[in-house]
Symmetry: C2
């Protein structure tokens, strides 16, 4: 069971730079794709950005609906992350079913949340910018949820690596974070 | 000794979401600050973005010079990352000296590179966007370098953790990536 996260704290879900699934839906079609180019960009209001190539089917669903979801997969979903990047949902009736993931309609914006993921965010597009060969969607986080075994204020990085997010080094190389390091503020 | 990285491959330095020092200089003043909100946003041309709060001294140096540097610290610099975020260079004659880091003028744009860091990028601002309480600077990567013990096509994540980048979970919590995981493309 996931727990709701206040949108103003949801930046912590993205702060360490993990891979996400970007989800979107419009007019009865829905889709998702993996992305590493995602970051928080504002505390108040809570905003994040994600870069999506225009050729992606998900790109058109975001552009037409004005909304997107971000779902954070754990290490147990790494093969699905890989495969989801290699096939296009444009030619499939249901990419979620094809990959073996469960889409649930988000409570705030209706964008797909992914049941098997560690966390989900729902975002409303507030700005769109062309950045070279990608489109940068700036979204306001309006809802978020996370698995409390994996996240409480920050990612907990427990011994069970299926409860840790995944990071994409590039090409065929990925990694997960080791345990948390506490680095207290120094006085003076 | 660092090795030059072609700008089109420099996105691999940022892809996994590590913490950077953002550097800038103008009119004889130079400064730097840690940032986690950074991401590649285009392959061709090679672009990246970084979100900087307007109250930061580094913000004004970037805005006035139209250039910034990104330097990637290893785990051995974690205390300096923490301290650099807590003090402002506006009141210091030389924040690099105050923190104990060595600034070297970048070969392409003159933005400060940091000698002790694992990698450096030099970026020219091509677009600026206000995103809530931050300014999002979009920069074109015009030069990059990395320590070959730490990076070769991707971060290598060797046993020596001082050669691994640092990730900010939020607040006082940080982490480094474990070793690399190879996840080959699946056929069919």
């Amino acid at each position: 069971m996931k727990r709701e996260i206040p949108p103003r704290r949801a930046n912590r879900l993205l702060n360490a730079g993990c891979v996400v699934f970007v989800t979107a839906q419009n007019g009865g079609r829905s889709n998702f794709m993996p992305a590493a180019w995602v970051s928080p960009v504002s505390h108040e209001p809570p905003l994040c950005c994600v870069a999506v190539a225009p050729k992606r089917f998900t790109h058109d669903l975001i552009a037409s609906s004005g909304c997107f979801g971000l779902a954070v997969p754990g290490l147990d979903l790494i093969e699905k992350v890989r495969r989801a990047g290699d096939i296009s949902g444009a030619d499939l009736s249901d990419k979620f079913a094809e990959i073996g993931l469960t889409a649930v309609s988000g409570s705030k914006l209706g964008v797909p949340r992914i049941e098997e993921c560690l966390a989900n965010l729902e975002c409303r597009v507030v700005n769109t910018l062309t950045t070279g060969d990608h489109t940068l969607f700036i979204g306001r986080v309006v809802a978020a949820e996370a698995d409390p075994r994996a996240f409480d204020e920050t990612w907990l990085l427990p011994a069970d690596r299926s409860l840790r997010p995944v990071h994409h080094l590039g090409g065929e190389w990925f990694a997960v974070l080791e345990g948390r390091l506490h680095v207290p503020k120094m006085v003076g």
